[in-house]
Subunit: 383 residues, 2 copies
């Protein structure tokens, strides 16, 4: 018999029970489905077995976030397998490269949303002390907003985390962290992949972070910046700059006023932070350091993607800014290609006498680094 | 050179710009990436071209929601292609079946979350009058809640839609629709796939539906019901029944009280509706018809997956219920395998003298049917 898509036929099983006696309906009967693959399988020693069914492929590799690709081996049923070494507890993105083509794992419902390269993730569980582990603590809520943007001339969305115990009708107000995703993420990146809500829940429960509201907007001013893709964006800096300008307008003139009218937030500069990863790190530095009347706390995690003429990017920035900056926190993984431009920026800030915190941690350009960055940075805010 | 996962290397491009002069870092340099595939490509006549790169596959098919699989043809670059006939405007789920294995489309960021068979979707745009089209109308918000369930003994989530203009501190209260997903969906199903928030936004903007709050809980009482899978659930009705009981407890004793304390909702039975699709349709009928003290409006879309001894499932149900039921709306697609059990149920209700609305529409067991069901059903509520 021919095999047919599980997507198509699986929802029919309820019917199959009830109508066994019935004449053949227009659908094809449920086929023999391919064997279910238990993948990824996390073992008690934290090694992980990945499996992928591709009977006719010639070469299959596991591409795990932050690691060199691993060759997978085929068995006589066409199942490709690889076992990793024991891994530090974390969430790891991955995809399967089948004859050179990045592929998703159809047996894993853990999806990594991404506008250019969606993928999967595997969770290697760790102790409750890890900030991204889901613990039995009070949980905040994540609110998904939709609106028409005049600045960007489109329909777009943003997310807002409110901490446990947030009460819309109470008088208490909260400080706000504006938290920006990286290039190719969508607005859900920091919650769906970065686990920002879980991290904040844990920090707040442990008394490590002040209860705060976290606003996660869409980080593009024009979706053209996505349409040109990874290749185009480096050859079209004007698209990147237009995207940044319109993003900043949308943030400052649309998202921020909406948040400040709909949520109980403290609206002075000392109660506003801005931080982000990669492209979002550059956006945070440019928006924050050029907007110290609005933001007193600024964080950049593996920042990248801004012009390297810092004098033009931060006009007039000098040691006077130290009176306004409560925290300028610049982090990058030491194995990240962006470590050099980040060091260059910090060197330039030093020549200008602008005080900042340098953070270099092990790691590449990965969410494993950024979750840790968020946990460390959020704990410092609004003190 | 060897190809490497785009997932792994793409985020590095910012670095690649800035450090061209630098010594080779630990990462491999960005590889030649496989050609970008424009897929799915929707043409002006509403036909769609699907493409999939699989140079060594022997047979590749498109499996589109609600349609027979279509064979795809390979070109000399290993790209498999198929053109559909013009399609009615809609959102269609699909997957690509590669040598018998259901696969996701790595070039399409439109993902369909599902616990057993995640997939992709394609949007064939239509006129603004279609209820699922994103229009320039006031938008409601979608709130994602997380809590520890005593009934289910786990950490779980639910979603709440609040209509445009909802004001937490105002005195106005809103009626509530509890809206349940199908087997293998997660709690995000009705928003991420069913576009419930967009549908409600449009109906409310057009004056076709009363402004209401929509609560979308997780529809399982135990995740064991997912672990046994499509095969296991039919051979383990006891798991399904345990799941239903605990789900209902979680809904009635946890989710409902949380919603009624956190949102401005009207709490009389005439202001409460319950509806769902497939498994969620059965859950709605069982919870609603056995809980008429709580629910006056009940909807079932392609309901399936309950015991067929209706006398036991709905003990004591008879024509007296008509005094309490404001609407009992039972819909199913005529090409759905579940049409027979649905007709059986309606026949039984008729013998009991229980008034209900029979809806049979063209269609199979698909979201295309359920989005229309929601749009029709929601318009009737709370009148």
């Amino acid at each position: 018999m021919t095999l047919q898509s599980a997507f198509l036929v699986l929802p029919l099983f309820f019917g199959a029970i009830a109508i066994a006696q019935e004449a053949k309906p227009p659908q094809t009967p449920p086929p023999q489905r391919p064997p279910w693959l238990d993948t990824p399988e996390v073992h008690s020693d934290n090694s992980v077995t990945f499996r992928f069914l591709a009977p006719n492929a010639q070469e299959v590799k596991l591409a795990r976030e932050g690691a060199e690709p691993l060759a997978m081996q085929k068995d006589d049923k066409g199942v490709w397998t690889v076992n990793t070494a024991p891994l530090p507890p974390d969430y790891y993105g991955y995809s399967i490269v089948v004859d050179g083509v990045r592929s998703l794992d159809p047996y894993n419902h853990g999806l990594v949303p991404n506008l250019l390269s969606p993928g999967n993730f595997v969770h290697v569980p760790g102790p409750p002390s890890l900030p991204w582990e889901l613990n039995d603590v009070p949980h905040g809520e994540v609110h998904h907003h939709f609106y028409r943007s005049t600045a960007a001339n489109d329909q777009r969305d943003f997310y807002v985390y409110t901490p446990p115990g947030y009460e819309p009708s109470a008088k208490k107000t909260y400080p706000v962290l504006y938290l920006l995703h990286g290039y190719s993420d969508d607005a859900s990146g920091w919650t769906a992949v970065g686990r920002a809500n879980v991290i904040l829940d844990n920090l707040i429960a442990q008394g490590k972070a002040k209860p705060m509201i976290v606003v996660m907007p869409l980080g593009y001013g024009t979706m053209e910046v996505i349409r040109v893709g990874w290749g185009g964006i480096s050859t079209h800096p004007e698209v990147r700059e237009e995207s940044f300008r319109k993003f900043r307008d949308a943030l400052l003139t649309e998202v921020m006023p909406k948040v400040e009218s709909e949520y109980r937030v403290t609206t002075d500069r000392n109660s506003r932070a801005i931080a982000g990863l990669s492209m979002g790190g550059a956006e945070s530095l440019r928006t924050g350091l050029n907007g110290l009347d609005k933001f007193a706390w600024i964080g950049a995690f593996s920042a990248g993607g801004m012009p390297d003429e810092f004098e033009k990017v931060f006009p007039g920035l000098d040691a006077k800014a130290n009176q306004q900056i409560r925290l300028l926190w610049i982090a990058c993984g030491t194995e990240d290609r962006l470590i050099t431009p980040n060091r260059n920026l910090r060197e330039w800030l030093k020549t200008k006498g602008v005080l900042h915190v340098d953070i270099e941690t092990p790691g590449m350009h990965t969410w494993m680094v950024w979750r840790r960055n968020l946990a460390e940075f959020a704990a410092l805010l609004f003190r």
